[in-house]
């Protein structure tokens, strides 16, 4: 029994209302971990950096909101998994890395990782509409975004299968440096996946190999507490995922995944270690998805209080407040960015709607390397 469970039981025994004023306890152990992390002292950020992070998170949020709208309007099909709430992770990690140099590997919840990596939003939106102008030429769809140009190794739709692929990219970096003698080969790979993935074999197999061979890789766990309907605390024996790093002799860190500056700082430390040849890091970001697992998920199990707890810690609002508090930006400037991004996304939708469908005569193209 966790401390939070115990407090809840005590509250019930004393006749106190089950919905206590202390939102942490109501929201459960996942929230409690976040609260206990550290008294947040905002990491330092410059105006330019801060605005890059803000812009990227707003892009991710507004893009996903538009996806939901398009899905319900019948323009987008299949399973669509939105990223709302988790923006600080994608932005914090990817913006701590080098675009078109480092590598990124995602899951079925991949739209925002693609955007952070620099894949043009027009290409991502087109892909979701199944168009030829999509980053995967309309062949991949929401869960299979790829861009060699932007070093996006892809969205992988089965749990855990992207981690070995990411490991392979990290192996290539080391191979080029140590077997081919290319001293400039210092690309780092970030593999993103969720708490549910941390119970599958490939996760452990790859932690072992990455530590064994000191590969330049970040294992970024986006612990949003829920694997569809399975509460993380019901699925794993030790819910503190970052602690598993110690078993492999690698660096592990737990970070407030709702704080983009904290995520970025942790990612910077991990990237620095990786580039220096010191090997991998397991970075657990405590976060939350605001929407259901996918747009097909009725989302019946998650408590309103839990959602409220996390909504209060919204990463975009938090960064906005920090930028304003530190006089790095004004409310009007941020509003102008929001507006600009809304216009950009409207343009993406128009572009995607007008874009050509893949040609039927090219149905079998791309099976073979020569084609």
């Amino acid at each position: 029994m966790t401390q939070a469970d115990m407090s809840r039981d005590l509250a019930a025994a004393s006749g106190a209302p089950s919905c206590s004023a202390d939102a942490t306890h109501v929201a459960g152990p996942h929230a409690e971990r976040l609260e206990n992390l550290y008294p947040a002292t905002p990491a330092a950020v410059t105006r330019d950096e801060g605005l890059v992070l803000y812009r990227d998170m707003v892009l991710g949020r507004r893009f996903e909101d538009k996806c939901a709208e398009m899905y319900y309007r019948g323009k987008m099909f299949g399973f669509v998994h939105l990223y709302n709430g988790q923006e600080a992770v994608s932005t914090g990690v990817i913006k701590a890395m080098k675009a078109q140099h480092d590598w990124f590997c995602s899951t079925y919840r991949d739209h925002v990782h693609a955007l952070s990596a620099g894949v043009p939003a027009r290409e991502v939106m087109s892909e979701l509409f199944g168009k030829e102008t999509g980053c995967s030429k309309g062949r991949g769809g929401s869960m299979h975004l790829f861009s060699k140009e932007h070093h996006l190794l892809g969205g992988y739709a089965f749990i855990g299968e992207g981690i070995p692929v990411a490991l392979g990219a990290a192996f290539t970096s080391r191979y080029k440096r140590d077997a081919l003698g290319d001293a400039s080969s210092d690309a780092v790979t970030a593999a993103f996946f969720g708490d549910g993935t941390c119970n599958i074999g490939q996760f452990y197999e790859c932690l072992n190999m990455a530590a064994l061979w000191k590969l330049p890789i970040l294992f970024v766990v986006e612990n949003n507490k829920w694997a569809i309907g399975m509460d993380h605390n019901r699925a794993t024996s030790d819910p503190e995922i970052w602690r598993k790093a110690a078993a492999f002799g690698m660096a592990g860190e737990e970070v407030d995944g709702m704080d983009v500056l904290a995520v970025r700082a942790a990612a910077q430390r991990a990237v620095e270690r990786a580039r220096a040849g010191e090997g991998p890091t397991l970075l657990e970001c405590l976060t939350y998805r605001y929407r259901g697992h996918s747009l097909a998920d009725p989302d019946e199990l998650r408590a309103a209080e839990e959602k409220e707890f996390w909504a209060k810690r919204d990463p975009i609002q938090r960064l906005a407040a920090q930028l304003i508090d530190q006089s790095l930006a004004t409310v009007d400037e941020l509003k102008a960015i929001d507006k600009e991004i809304d216009a950009h996304i409207a343009d993406c939708v128009e572009f995607a709607l007008a874009a050509p469908e893949p040609k039927p005569e090219e149905l079998t193209r791309y099976i073979w390397a020569e084609d």
Binding site: V165, G168, Y366, A369
Partner: protein
């Protein structure tokens, strides 16, 4: 020409290709210091170092996926399945990622990787180590599948597979590693997509692959004494089939027997005969014959094991029956 054992022919091919292209690397269980469970990578660890000949932990799905990622980012990995049966554990990476990823990514990435190792029924190795995964993997889009049968084609096909920009599943046979013959000196490659006409004949076409080629050769010897002139074709490429060569042979003989080591249901022969029926229906003078292993897990007992797979006398009987009009 030099007398060479099959495992050494493979080793020469890998060695030559590693020397030719520094992006070629080997990964798998015991491929390095141990030299490979069938010595196909013997001494290459000392020659090329621990990164180019990488001893992996026993984690098939993860190291196969690692090869996918390495191939996507510029390397040309050769993955050894210590026993091809173990690759059932890597089915997801081979199917979803090696096979499908180029298409799913809309041509963003290519996967120039080879997955090689011993398959087939050995001598009393038990069910799990006696599998014919070529049939299981046959439906996966985007992968080429070849099966080697002689030292000569083993070397030429391995070199071609390494140079190919697509993923290639490369089936060796556990009982053929010590086969020996003179092979051409130096650098040569064999086409991955071409069948090999082992013996020309006019009466019956026999289509086979891997170790069954040698069972067929024994049968052909017997049949030729009976005056039956067999055209023996080693498929080599199990995906795609070299239908041009196959059609030309059937147009000549009008009779066909498929001899395979995989199980009958969902086997290589099943797909092959479906294609032959579609493409050569009017050329056939008799119904096609399929000689396959029993649809059972391979038993340990030697007698039962022999009864599970096709033996040369069964090929002789089928050809005689076909030639005499009994079929």
């Amino acid at each position: 020409m030099a007398e060479t054992l099959l495992f050494n022919a493979l080793r020469e091919a890998i060695d030559e290709e590693m020397a030719r292209d520094p992006h070629v690397c080997v990964m798998g269980e015991d491929v390095g210091q141990y030299g490979g469970s069938y010595k196909v990578t013997k001494d290459l660890y000392d020659k090329y170092g621990e990164l180019r000949v990488l001893d992996t932990p026993i984690a098939e799905n993860a190291f196969t996926g690692m090869a996918v990622g390495a191939a996507m980012t510029g390397l040309r990995p050769i993955v050894e399945g210590m026993n091809m049966g173990f690759l059932l554990l890597a089915f997801n990476q081979i199917s979803n990622n090696m096979g499908m990823l180029r298409y799913t990514s809309g041509g963003n990435f290519t996967i120039p990787a080879v997955v090689r190792g011993p398959g087939g029924v050995g001598r009393q190795l038990g069910a799990e180590h006696s599998q014919r995964l070529e049939a299981y993997f046959h439906a996966v889009p985007g992968i080429k599948i070849v099966a080697v049968s002689t030292p000569t084609n083993a070397k030429g096909l391995m070199k071609a597979a390494i140079r190919d920009n697509n993923p290639v599943l490369f089936f060796e046979h556990v009982l053929l590693y010590n086969l020996s013959e003179d092979i051409p000196e130096g650098d040569y490659v064999c086409a991955l997509d071409q069948a090999e006409i082992v013996r020309e004949g006019k009466d019956v076409t026999i289509l086979t692959y891997s170790r069954m080629r040698h069972h067929c050769l024994k049968a052909v010897e017997q049949l030729s004494q009976d005056g039956i002139d067999v055209e023996l074709i080693d498929l080599i490429s199990l995906k795609p089939f070299d239908m041009e060569t196959i059609r030309a042979s059937i147009r000549k003989t009008h009779k066909v027997i498929v001899v395979e080591e995989c199980m009958k249901t969902g086997g290589i022969g099943a797909e092959l005969l479906a294609l032959i029926t579609e493409q050569c229906f009017d050329e056939l003078d008799a119904r096609p014959v399929r000689l396959s292993s029993q649809d059972i897990p391979t038993p340990y007992n030697g007698t039962l094991e022999n009864l599970t797979i096709i033996q040369p006398h069964q090929i002789v009987e089928a050809a005689r029956a076909l030639q005499s009009g009994q079929i």
